[in-house]
């Protein structure tokens, strides 16, 4: 087989492998256990967009909580504010971090199975990612 033909085949294989990658990868997932006195948890992780186009996360859902919202903490002039985020854009090939003191999930209305939590990330009606983890542990 000639070298140019081999190179084309290798590139095609690489493209096929890449196209099988999930569009959204998650790392460092941590769901805090609800604190005494409330049924609320926080979610922290890193989301990486493996595609060549921006991904707009419009909703995060969980069968283990009544409500899941994306929030962001800001501290401006010494005032801490928490605001809901309607959507999060993960640019092509980049990573967005949800971390303490910044963007985070607020999960409320913990159900009886909230020690094992499943999160589902949607872009519109499209489910991009579903992942489960135990609360209080970082994956």
């Amino acid at each position: 087989m000639s070298r140019p033909v081999l190179a084309v085949l290798l590139l095609a294989c690489l493209g096929a492998c890449l196209s099988d990658r999930p569009p959204l990868l998650i790392d460092g997932l941590e769901i805090t256990a609800p604190l005494p006195g409330n049924d609320m948890s926080a979610g922290y992780f890193e989301l990486t967009n493996t595609t060549a186009a921006p991904l707009v996360i419009t909703r995060v859902a969980s069968p283990d909580f009544e409500r899941v919202m994306m929030h962001e903490t800001t501290i401006d002039d010494g005032i801490a504010r928490m605001r809901m985020l309607e959507e999060i854009t993960v640019p092509a090939g980049q990573t967005v971090r949800f971390s303490r003191g910044g963007k985070h999930l607020m999960l409320s209305g913990a159900g009886p199975t909230a020690d094992l939590v499943t999160l589902q990330f949607y872009a519109g009606d499209a489910l991009l990612l579903s992942i489960s983890t135990r609360t209080g542990m970082e994956d």
Binding site: T32, L35, P36, G37, N38, M40, S41, A42, R67, H71, T73, I75, G78, I79, A80, R81, M82, R83, R100, G101, H104, M106, L107, S108
Partner: protein
């Protein structure tokens, strides 16, 4: 000894002394508070009456006799409040491990007394530090305390009961004479308290 040799020896000694001084500055712990803002004049607490997690009254005089690290937050805060309380608890543990005495008491004053009943706030603070105190009560009394200390809080507009409360992220240091002595601005790290508190408490 030639003058040149003498000068060389003097310059060498000066260089060694400068190096030692610089090394000490870089390596030795800070000799004065590096993060805390100390008030030029301690400020007496304003008059207020709230309750602790046991339902017992809390007034300014109840801060006498101990150092207190006071944070204004609420239990339905999923991020910055537990983060801050964890930092304070970690700092207290590190101070205890270092043999520091007295240890400050962690006090959480609720800016959401509607949801933070004494039982709720008591269970909450106990999670972080079993010696911590949770303070709640009448909203007007909370406002007396916060406005007297320059602390801000405001319920964020939302129709349901999942509202958030915007609030100052500062941690206040109250001295054993029940006076506002110093403050720590966010973002908070345990090391800031571990370094600065012994210096402040010793009068540095």
């Amino acid at each position: 000894m030639h003058a040149k040799q003498f000068l060389l020896i003097v310059l060498s000694l000066v260089a060694i002394a400068c190096g030692a001084w610089l090394s000490y500055q870089l390596v030795a712990p800070s000799a004065k508070p590096g993060t805390a803002t100390i008030l030029p004049q301690p400020l007496a607490l304003p008059e207020f009456v709230l309750v602790d997690q046991h339902g017992d009254a809390v007034r300014p005089d109840d801060f006498r006799g101990r150092w207190s690290l006071v944070f204004f937050g609420f239990t339905h805060c999923p991020d910055v409040c537990p983060l801050t309380l964890q930092v304070l608890a970690d700092a207290r543990r590190q101070l205890a491990a270092a043999g520091e005495s007295p240890l400050p008491t962690i006090v959480l004053v609720s800016v959401d007394p509607e949801r933070d009943t004494p039982e709720v706030i008591g269970n909450y603070v106990d999670y972080f530090d079993t010696d911590a105190i949770g303070v709640t009560g009448d909203l007007a009394e909370v406002q007396k305390l916060t406005s007297g200390l320059g602390v801000f809080f405001q319920r964020a507009a939302r129709d349901d009961d999942n509202y958030a409360v915007d609030h100052s992220a500062v941690v206040l240091l109250i001295d054993p004479d029940a006076r506002f002595r110093a403050l720590f601005s966010a973002p908070h790290e345990a090391g800031n308290f571990v370094n600065d508190l012994p210096l402040i408490l010793s009068g540095a």
